[in-house]
Amino acid sequence: MSRQEKIIITGAEDTVRIESRVLEERIQEAVEQGYRKIGVQSFGQHGIGGRLWNSDSETVEIDIYGYSGQRIGSMGSPTTYIEVHGPASDDVGWLNAGATIVVHGDATNGVGNAMAQGKIYIEGDIGARGMTMTKSNPHYTPPELWVLGGVGDSFAEFMAGGVAVICGFDSHYRDNILGHRPCVGMVGGRIFFRGEHHGYSEGDAKLVGISDADWGWLTENMQEFLKAIRCKDLYEELTRERSQWRLLVARQPHEKARKKRMAMSEFHSRVWDRELGKGGLIGDLSDMDRSPVPLITTGVMRRFVPSWENHKYLPPCQTGCPTGIPVQKRWELIRKGKVDEALDLALMYTPFPATVCGYLCPNLCMDGCTRAKHFLPAIDVTVLGKAGSDAHEPKPARPTGKKIAVIGGGPAGISVAWQLWMNGHEPVVFDRADALGGKITSAIPHSRFAKELYEQELKRVADKISYRKLESGLDSGTFLEIRDSHDYTVIATGAQIPRTLNIKGYKRALTALEFLQRSKEDRIKPGKNVVIIGAGNVGCDAATEAHRLGARDITLLDIQEPASFGHERKQAEMAGAKFLWPVFTRAITAKGVELADGRFLKADTIVFALGDLPDVSFLPEGIDLLKGYISVDEAFQTTDAKVFAIGDTVRPGLLTDAIGAGRKAAQAIHARLSGTDDTFDRLPPIDTRRVKMEYYDPRIKTGADLGQCASQCASCGGCRDCGVCEVVCPQQAISRRDLQQGDYEYVVDENLCIGCGFCAGACPCGVWELVENTPLG
């Protein structure tokens, strides 16, 4: 029931402005009544022309005269057509859902804010924040805003849809028809514009070319716009040049991520290095390459490098052996099946590999054995020692013609003579005894070693070394004669003067040396009760011998905890010997020994076993003494450069100490005679923490046979050629390389190695070590 006539509704009654609510009610009522053409005389009322959806789908035309008020056509309906006959206030078409709104003049801020459908035609400029928050709903035609002039600041903020056309005709804005910072937050829609501008939010929008379809749309719809604002005559001017028009569209999300900036690499080369020069900040101070490297590096950029330190350190067994026998090397030879070589090797170090290593030595090599630190039994070297008698005789070096006198035919003298003989020199041993041998022959009980083996070993030496008996003993005249007729002289006379105690009745006691010498030849009957003063190893030997000869109550006395150990101690204990300490003796009587605390020990035989001092009465001036012993340097040279002194003349010690001293002295003499350095045994000991005992089965007890002993030796510091490193290297950088004469080495390809140290971590023998690479820069 529409009515064709136009109704005029005025916003004032009796010159008084009516409330927006009342005007709104009257307009809605007119539409309800069927009016489709409504003129509104406005006095600035709010929201005129909006929400007119009760027109039965018929178009309602609203003409607004006067002061148009804010939010013209807000929430407008598609069937509403509004014409504002003059300028418009803020928010024209706010939340427009379809109305067409024509403004014959300028519009202020907020035109088309949040509109989703409909059209707004402006015959002039608009203020700030036009076309902001506009929407694009796929179910409806998108909104349009046409502006004949230009737009104010912050245009199209958060625009999400629709089309804006800014014609730039006769605008107040002149040189910037898009206003300050348009398109911030724009995510959709298109903006056609014509005329100068001062940029837009480049992070959000971009200029694109105008396609034929775009141009077709623009020129076609331009006619409708110009018709609506009654400016058809401008059509020619506005559509003459496609090139006058530009098109802004929103960036796609993937384009939007960041405003295009200069890449840092470009800045580096084009700005930074250009200003500073090649190499940047410190290019003038250093030509060091500073380009990036990865975390895992090879070659020169490795922080650590592996080092195959084969036999660069001494194993603890060799370090511990005073003679310096390469025990580990012998086991290695046995592992390789070279049993003979292993036995022969010992002869290069000692003339008594069987007697001493196998029987008489406390085997200091075993004390330091790495296995012991891991609660595993040390490798039993006596097994190897006892097998030593089968050794081949070494061949001496070419004769040098140099003569060396060795005074004393005991273990020390024999050792030095043996070493000198092997080096091609001519040693001569002088002694008061009938033959070579010294204390092993004369004083050490037979129970302690295998007599036949010893004799075999002694013969091996005696066959090669000249021996001269000193019929009239040794005095300084004889000594000087010997010294002056030889290239070098070695004093190895041992300690022959037993210590005794200056107590009452001391003459009733025997010295250990006397007792042992006589007992060895069964020339003494010690009786049932024996007291030995001094509970060291010699005292223990005396106790064992006394027991063998029938004694049953044997007591060893000491002023402190007895220093005896090893076989000697064990055998004495087995003989039932009692150890008393700390005790002090007051006197010796015919019946026995009186102690300071008043006790009395019955004794048939009393023995002093308090150690022996060397006889130095024959020494000429110029050879210095130190506390009763001959003073020597590291190489056993005395203060007379032509004279060396070894064994018990220098300090009391074990057989192995005497033999080692002989070897070292011989080495020093040989070095002096041949003009070389005596560099033997100078390698540092290995840090046994490098050796991995976890590879060994803790259930295996060594000592069964040579083969088993050899297999369980950890070979500290010496490569076992097991190949664990080759396998464990994650880079396959390690390989084994054959050298001449069956020798080999393991090498690292530095272009593969990353310096992880796995080789060092896994090496059973502690041969590999990870060391810091040479510093750079």
Binding site: E275, L285, M288, D289, A762
Partner: protein, 544 residues
């Protein structure tokens, strides 16, 4: 494991260490990456013997031992190789089979890290994550009462002034009457604080400087960076980039001859001169560059022999009173650049800060005061200094600002705050809090290392080996094998990212206050804290 089990007091087990290595035999590929990368050799390949006793069900067969050997990663417990928790092993592990785990109880290592009577020295931070700044809230949100701004949409000009600002009555006088107008720089309020060339690796230093140059020249952000005490590479001195640099002079005077030689050839003036009297991380102690890091290059720039430790004295020599030290140094440094470059002192936060500030207030040449709080970082210091000495920054800055208000000079001498800003990652919030407490700008160091270069240091005593040249990220190392891990371009890019995001966050805090063109310096009505006594002390709102 100690094979012999011989005990000595400093023998530690894995349980006694701060960091435990967790290693998963199942996942491990035995690739060697972790042991190759570990900076302190805390891990090695270990050989392990394993015994199994397989028993047949029903005991039908006689049981037996089965011994075997396997290889795996083992942690070394020697204090010299104690794990530092840097996590590089985890970073390079292809199978995530290894990572450090922090010991929950007090580690025993702490009691033994003084072998030979030498107390622990380290780099890094205070190892205390507590932060008053983190607890400060911005409680004035002006939706309708002030013209609230949109941080994302509105334009902001976040700038601060470095230099002595004349009071209005002086400023309006013509220069013929005033004689000299103090130089003032308009700079970005977040400054990269003094970290020396030497403390930092060349790649790190160059990356930071490059990033700063980019921010200035490409993004128009007037960001400034202080050199720290260690001189400045001659090329930088002679480049236009020097205007982005604050040159530091400290008690060691390292590298200053190079600067003097460059003076006649400089294209631009530096931004400012900072005179370092103290450092928040180790108040009362001087600088220290340990010998590990003094290679030929560093030695050349500093003018010292290579491979020597370089301590700076705790105080400047030849200065015997506060009046003298400050006045003499400020005069000399102004003169060097013809009174065109602002000169200001930097001190450690202390209960005596106000005495210094009042002195500066009377000296018309003093351009600013920088105060470094206890949470500042360092490349090397005694642990005891780092952990137990120094003054928190918040109350010190507040006292200083309120003191200026009292004497009416709060707009004349800017105060810059440093030390612990962003220590828990809250850079913009901490910076804004300090600005509202009265700071004109903020200096940060550690934050830059973490954000721009991936420093793994934390307040939980992680890594902290900046002093010995083994920084696993190449930030504080002078060893090319390590510092070449760090690409200066990547650092520069991260500096740009950090500043861009800081800028956005700072805007988010300032926009609701309606501030877009001037910093809310001292605007303490906008902040509050939930602790009554702290609120009282700082004279801010108590909010619960």
């Amino acid at each position: 494991m100690e094979p012999v089990g011989t005990l000595h007091p400093s023998l530690l087990s894995q349980k006694d260490l701060l960091w435990h290595i967790s290693w998963d035999k199942q996942k491990c590929a035995l690739c060697g990456h972790c042991t190759a990368v570990c900076p302190v050799r805390a891990i090695e390949l270990g050989v392990h013997r394993k015994r199994e006793i397989p028993i047949t069900l029903g005991l039908s067969e006689k049981p037996k031992n089965v011994y075997g050997v396997y290889h795996g990663i083992r942690q070394i417990t020697d204090p010299a190789h104690a794990c530092i928790g840097c996590g590089m092993c985890s970073l390079v592990c292809p199978n995530s089979a290894i990572y450090p785990v922090r010991n929950e109880e007090t580690d025993k290592l702490k009691f033994h890290i003084n072998a030979g009577g030498e107390p622990r020295r380290r780099g890094g931070r205070r190892n205390d994550s507590a932060s008053v700044l983190d607890r400060i809230k911005f409680v004035r949100i002006s939706m309708l009462t002030d013209p609230a701004l949109d941080a994302g949409r509105h334009e902001f000009e976040l700038r601060t002034l470095l230099g002595r600002i004349l009071p209005p009555e002086e400023a309006v006088k013509p220069s013929s009457q005033t004689g000299w107008i103090p130089p003032v720089r308009e700079i970005y309020p977040l400054i990269i604080g003094g970290m020396s060339f030497g403390a930092l690796s060349p790649n790190m230093w160059e990356g930071l400087q490059m990033g700063v140059a980019y921010l200035n020249e490409e993004l128009g952000m007037p960001v400034r960076m202080c050199t720290g005490e260690g001189g400045c590479p001659p090329r930088l001195l002679r480049s236009r980039f020097i205007k982005f640099v604050i040159l530091q002079i400290a008690s060691g005077y390292f590298g200053w001859d190079e600067i003097i030689h460059a003076l006649p050839e400089m294209k631009e003036d530096p931004c400012a001169i900072e005179i370092k009297y103290g450092q928040g991380a180790k108040p009362g102690d001087g600088g220290l560059l340990m010998w590990h890091k003094v290679n030929k290059l560093i030695a050349a720039i500093r003018g010292v022999p290579p491979r020597v430790s370089l301590p700076s004295p705790p105080t400047h020599q030849t200065k015997y009173s506060i009046e003298e030290s400050v006045a003499k140094m400020i005069q000399s440094m102004y003169m060097a650049w013809g009174f065109r470059v602002p000169v200001y002192p930097k001190i450690s936060a202390t209960t005596t800060s106000l005495a210094v500030l009042n002195n500066l207030a009377r000296n018309p040449y003093a351009a600013a005061l920088a105060i470094d709080g206890e949470d500042g970082g360092t490349g090397a210091a005694y642990n005891v200094s780092m952990n137990h000495m120094g003054h928190p920054i918040a109350s010190n800055i507040r006292d200083a600002y309120l003191n200026l208000v009292k004497i009416g000079k709060q707009n004349e001498i800017p105060i810059f705050a440093g030390g612990g800003i962003g220590k828990n990652g809250n850079l913009a919030a901490n910076a804004a809090a300090l600005i509202m407490l009265g700071a004109s700008g903020i200096q940060v160091g550690k934050y830059m290392m973490q954000a721009a270069a991936g420093c793994v240091g934390s307040e939980g005593d992680r890594c902290n080996i900046c002093n010995i040249g083994l920084c696993p990220k190449g930030i504080t190392s002078q060893d090319p094998r390590i510092y070449r891990r760090l690409d200066p371009e990547h650092v520069a890019q991260r500096v740009v990212d950090v500043y861009s995001s800081f800028d956005s966050e700072l805007k988010k805090i300032l926009a609701p206050l309606g501030r877009s063109t001037s910093l809310p310096i001292g605007m303490s009505d906008a902040i509050g804290i939930d602790d009554y006594h702290t609120a009282e002390r700082l004279k801010i709102k108590h909010v619960v």
